[in-house]
């Protein structure tokens, strides 16, 4: 397995120096000093796969990676994620971008980006419109929280402006500007269709054009002939919507896909019997899976009992049985490479049966029977069965309750919940992880009803903390608090195995998600 240790490249750099560097990098790019890049062949069709059909091409209403994978290729942002094994960003539509103080970010747009369908050049007014519409309550955008404390965007020239925040917001650089909410759309185009769109973009500006969408089948992107930026490798990208990973693997083996994510249980087979002319690579994921305990449930009031459960669960067994050895145990909710990732958890990863039994005895609890609610995916079910066996060793009878997706995700409001095997998605900033476990979220997404004043304060303070070392320490402490409560046993961040033909030079985020605009052909 290669490159498992990812890190946010700018973490240790003082922010000013980092921003100066970023500004210069952006200017250099505009001046024609292109970024170092492999020499790609050009032309042809890239056939790839996404796990679901698109929902919206409007950045205000897109909800995740499926839409964003396409939007990142057809729209531009001020900055984009940088492909590679380490988290970072690079300028896109921004010729210059600089944080002048905690609440002001100046930017200048490149002068060679235009919108399709005759909607003209990209201007600072488009940037203002794109960002401010998301925080406008009247639009009811589901992505408003991504813009955090955005106050407004001040237009200072045709292609220059300032993003004005109400207070400092560090995630802006990691999950706002380079992700969904950072896509820049054409104000004139949106005005022409009443202010919002659904699955059909009105005007785009990226290196690829949205050439077609066949519902439940595929999305086709075509090379934008008017694109003046770094040339792209493919004439056409066909993105097939294939829900089932096994079906995608078969399609890859049949030669109908050039790139796809594969299932964890196929990794061993693909390693031992490699597909000719293809490469398998494993990327660490940002997802986090854990076992949660409802602190409001009368059966789980005993702190020693919860601790006994924490020490009884054997995470390496779960990695071997449920994740086929293709994932690593986690130490918290923040993955390696992000600020606040802990090198070790407080309760360890391997079971400590002696300690668990001692804690059980101290708790004074006997004949304990509990339930664990689980999403009916094979990895979760197997993990729950292993946990059942682990807890049986300390005298706890565990009943497994399986749920289909929509039912499972409703369990948060169930006050009778006892144990739950849970898994949340994640974006590359620790702020996104801690935001679900604050007191305000109890009974909503904080299913454990974990309420801790210090945790809430840390979450609030860390999002504005500009000293990255201090910020990391705050998030590490926040995870300590979670674990000390006895309500959490962290399991894994999973992994993202991908396979691609050797004729393709994939450009992936450090968590293995594709950035199609940067894909190359060998």
């Amino acid at each position: 397995m290669t490159g498992r240790n990812i890190s946010w490249t700018r973490v240790d750099m003082p922010r000013r120096a980092f921003l100066k560097g970023a500004t210069m990098l952006g200017m250099a790019s505009v001046a024609g000093l292109s970024l170092p890049r492999a020499a790609f062949a050009s032309g042809g069709t890239l056939k790839t796969r996404t796990y679901a059909d698109i929902r919206s091409m409007d950045p205000a209403f897109s909800q995740g990676v499926v839409d964003e994978e396409i939007q990142a290729a057809i729209y531009n942002k001020l900055i984009q994620y940088k492909p590679g094994r380490e988290w970072g960003w690079q300028p896109d539509a921004a010729a210059m971008i600089e944080q002048v103080d905690d609440t002001h970010i100046n930017f200048a747009l490149r002068d060679d980006i235009g919108f399709t369908n005759g909607f003209g050049a990209m201007t600072a007014e488009d940037v203002k419109f794109s960002f401010e519409r998301i925080i406008d309550d009247a639009l009811e955008s589901t992505n408003k929280p991504d813009w955090g404390p955005l106050d407004h965007v001040k237009v200072t020239g045709e292609r220059t402006g300032t993003i004005v925040l109400k207070n400092a917001f560090q995630p802006l650089w990691s999950i706002t500007l380079p992700y969904i909410a950072g896509n820049i759309v054409s104000k004139a185009a949106f005005d022409s269709v009443g202010g919002k769109i659904d699955t059909q973009p009105v005007a785009t500006s990226g290196p690829y054009l949205h050439a077609g969408w066949e519902p439940k089948q595929k999305t086709t992107l075509k090379r934008n002939p008017d694109w003046k930026g770094e040339p792209v490798a493919y004439d056409e990208i066909q993105i097939f919507h294939i829900d089932d990973e096994k079906a995608a693997e078969i399609a890859f083996e049949a030669g109908e896909l050039d790139f796809t994510r594969v299932s964890l249980d196929s990794v061993e087979r693909l390693k031992s019997s490699p597909i000719e002319g293809a490469t398998l690579e494993e990327y660490p994921s940002l997802y986090y899976a854990w076992v949660g305990m409802n602190l409001d449930n009368p059966k789980l009031q005993n702190h020693k009992l919860r601790q006994a459960i924490q020490y009884a669960i054997d995470v390496p067994s779960i990695m071997a049985g449920a994740y086929f050895g293709a994932a690593e145990p986690s130490t918290g909710i923040i993955a390696p490479g992000l600020p606040g990732h802990r090198e070790a958890s407080l309760t360890g990863t391997s079971a400590d049966l002696e300690k668990a039994q001692a804690l059980m005895a101290e708790s004074g609890e006997t004949n304990v029977s509990l339930t664990i609610d689980v999403l009916n995916k094979s990895a979760n079910v197997t993990a729950a069965q292993i946990i059942q066996a682990n807890l049986a060793a300390i005298g706890i009878a565990l009943e497994i309750r399986l749920h289909e997706g929509a039912t499972f995700w409703e369990l948060g409001s169930n006050e009778d919940l006892e144990l739950v095997m849970n898994r949340f998605s994640m974006t590359p900033d620790p702020y996104y992880a801690t935001s679900w476990f604050i007191t305000e979220q109890a009974g909503i997404w904080n299913w454990e009803r974990f309420r801790n004043e210090e945790f809430d304060k840390l979450h609030l303070a860390a999002q504005s903390e500009s000293d990255q070392a201090k910020r990391a320490a705050m998030y590490a402490r926040a995870q300590d608090l979670m674990e000390e409560s006895g309500a959490y046993k962290f399991i894994t961040h999973e992994s993202t195995p991908v396979i691609y033909r050797n004729s393709v030079v994939p450009a992936l985020r450090p968590d293995g998600l594709p950035l199609y605009r940067y894909f190359g052909a060998a």
Binding site: P215, D244, A247, I250, A251, E410
Partner: protein, 314 residues
Amino acid sequence: MLSYILRRLGLSAAITVLAVALLFLIIHMIPGDPVSTILGPKASPELRAALEARMGLDRPLPVQIGLFFMNMLRGDLGLDVFSNRPVTQIVLGQVPYTLVLILVSILWSAVLGIALGCYSAVNRNSLGDRLTGVLSVSVIAVPAFVVSLYSLLIFAVKLQWFPAIGAGAPADWGDQLHHLVLPSLAIGLSWVGYIARLVRASMLEVMGEGHIRTARAFGLPERQITYGYALRLAILPTVTVIGVGMGFLLSAAVFTEIVFSRPGLGKLVIDSITTRNYPVVMGSVLVSTLIFVASTTLADIVNAILDPRIRAGK
């Protein structure tokens, strides 16, 4: 005949209304909140309330059913909660894929099944009959998803004769037919065996009847007796089974559409149920019910045409 058809159509309308109302209740009674699924984790309570109102979920269930039927009569099945596209447009866009898949599957399996059934009946207890019997029972026992997976591995991965995913280019009939081969094989294979056994049994029963003996006594050619008289009667239960079988084929299409990543009603229903996309679920269910009711009604009418005793109500 006309009164029979009208009676049958009236019954079909009643079945449709009842089935859709029942499914509406079931879908709304299962746990799972569509608003959470649609808006995602970041939605504010105000946003949730607004969407609930927009979807009509804040109204009593009987009112929701009533509104659904009123809108349905106007041809309005609502809007997809994710993309805001009309549900009618979404569902009708998927129907051709499923219909073509089912019709092609039933067509080739009926042609082959009837031929094998006739052959077995005419050559009763021969080696060919026994071989056909063994093969028929074997393929009946194999579920569609197993055929799907093995046909994919053999014909798509190993031999690369047929494509593994998709439905083909929209304007290219040849490509679409090419993409239909493996999915229709998966759905139709067990029906070949089923129809062959059914036709054989019916043929043997009919061949033993008085009018066939009389025809033989008159010296009519065996070919004319078999295909002109016996098969015409023996085919009746097969027509009924094919009509009812459309429902089973719709279920089989769900698996097949997922395994072959084909668009279609089955995939649409599964996707919309898992996301609690109520308008699309109801639209898909309504159309699936209509297809099923229409096919059974059509089978009844064909039976009535073929057998005068049925239209006489005997």
